[in-house]
């Protein structure tokens, strides 16, 4: 099997609009969650989120792009620009034919649905803009990135709720590994911080009104975020031959299904994804130094995830570090695994472990080293990232320092 490495990264999220700004926020344990700036906020009972502030569409996108790009596409395209620029790749000739893009998103163009439902239902208009469909479709971001970079190989979009990005990156990894592609742009994007997007989550009664406090005994729910991260996954020999800077190697991926409940997680399903990833990567459990947790800050996820990690890693579970950066950037739903992979890259590249902020009270059901509140200097060689979606779909990916 061929080896796969990461040679570029880009992001837009509540903590920053570049990778380096995001690393800086992770290292400082800065919180990007605050009061939302959206229409009809007063009709919501949940009023906080990890919103991307000062988002300059003017001057960044031309008139036609603004007409065609939903917010989730804008985030993805900008993240892809950063990632491709960092990689130094130019997609021409054969490389163009063997390169593609696979992104995760749960909702696609949620803002476009929201705005146009307002137009027809609330304002009573009988006409909508002609680009509503190409703007809201879930594959819009992947397609615009393929057009922007002339990626003419395999491209598609994965929608598995909160595991979308990990599933997407897992596909990109395996496609390169097995010779289906030479380079894949991959990651995910989400933008559902609008009235309808939050009202829907409110209904489930799992959202916090004040903060996301993963693993803390006083946690009271999740907080939504928005944004994107996109990575350049490249076949190792190809990257080496052109002298590319290699950020990390992707070494393993596994996915499982709980086949049990549409919202409640299963420790067994999560554990099987973790042990499956270890096996796929050819790792011993003692090799793993850091896990970026799914860590949503709900009662159900955090205790189930900790049980899964404890069982999968045995005695080593007490020696590894596990943190949830959702405490800082919020839960980006379909984009979350992509932004969280940045914390994994930071751990490998900078030797800094992003903390779980908002941690106030120990929970005996989450008795692992969750790197509470303050970032930590530590050298780790292998890291993992967990994503466990509603619907019981689990996806775990592993990276190694090169």
């Amino acid at each position: 099997m061929r080896r796969v490495v990461i040679t570029g990264a880009g992001t837009i999220n509540a903590l920053g609009q570049t990778v380096s700004q995001t690393y800086e926020a992770f290292a400082q344990g800065r919180c990007g969650i605050g009061i939302l700036d959206i229409q009809d906020l007063e009709r919501l009972s949940i009023r906080i989120g990890g919103q991307v502030r000062d988002w300059p569409t003017e001057g960044v996108f031309n008139r036609q792009e603004i007409a065609l790009y939903d917010r989730f596409t804008q985030f993805a395209v900008q993240a892809a620009h950063q990632a491709v620029a960092a990689s130094g790749l130019i997609f021409e000739d054969q490389l163009s034919l063997t390169s593609g893009v696979v992104l995760g998103t749960a909702g696609g163009g949620v803002n476009t649905w929201d705005e146009n439902y307002r137009t027809v239902y609330e304002e009573g208009k009988n006409r909508v803009h002609p680009f509503v469909v190409p703007k809201l479709m879930n594959n819009a971001a992947a397609s615009h990135i393929s057009m922007e970079y002339n990626l003419r190989g395999p491209s598609f979009t994965v929608a598995t709720a909160c595991a979308s990005s990990n599933h997407a990156m897992g596909q990109a990894f395996n496609m390169i590994r097995h010779g289906m592609a030479q380079v894949m742009l991959t990651g995910g994007s989400e933008a559902m911080l609008c009235f309808g997007g939050i009202k829907a989550w409110e209904g489930l009664r799992v959202m916090s009104r004040d903060a996301c406090r993963p693993f803390s005994a006083n946690r009271n729910g999740m907080v939504q975020g928005e944004g994107a991260a996109v990575f350049v996954f490249e076949e190792y020999e190809h990257a080496r031959a052109r002298g590319a800077e290699i950020l990390a190697e992707v070494i393993g991926f596994a996915m499982t299904s709980d086949a049990a409940d549409i919202v409640m997680p299963s420790a067994q399903g999560a554990e099987r994804a973790i042990t499956g990833c270890l096996k796929d990567a050819g790792l011993n459990r003692e090799d793993v130094g850091y896990i970026n947790a799914h860590g949503t800050g709900t009662a159900a996820n955090d205790k189930t995830e900790c049980a899964a990690v404890a069982h999968a890693f045995g005695g080593h579970a007490d020696r590894l570090m596990i943190s949830s950066t959702k405490s800082m950037h919020g839960h980006l739903i379909g984009g979350t695994g992509a932004v969280e992979l940045l914390a994994c890259l930071m751990a490998l590249r900078e030797g800094v472990i992003a903390p779980t902020i908002g941690y106030e009270e120990a929970d005996p059901e989450c008795a692992l080293d969750v790197v509470p509140n303050v970032a930590r200097q530590a050298q780790v060689d292998v890291v993992m990232s967990n994503a466990f979606a509603f619907g019981g779909l689990n996806a775990v990916i592993a990276l190694r320092r090169v």
């Binding site: 209904g203 489930l204 009664r205 799992v206 959202m207 946690r219 009271n220 919202v263 409640m264 009662a299």
Partner: protein
Amino acid sequence: MASEIARRVMEIIAEQALLDLSDVTPEATLESLGIDSLGLVESIFAIEEAFDVSVPFNANEPGKSSFDISSVGAIIAAVETLVDQSQT
């Protein structure tokens, strides 16, 4: 009015539990009636719609809510309180 509220709450719970109204007693717990966490959230939604009230309930900290869900009778009492408050 109180008995009317009790009857309506028990109807909502019976419908959620797929049981006859006569099988739902004030002493019963939601668990004993086979109502899981999703069923609970759906029941609360139905109560809010039926009585035009807002029930303070976060699934992450059910014990912290002032809305007591420990039994059908407790839920009826909590709904009666909410309806009283909404009328004053």
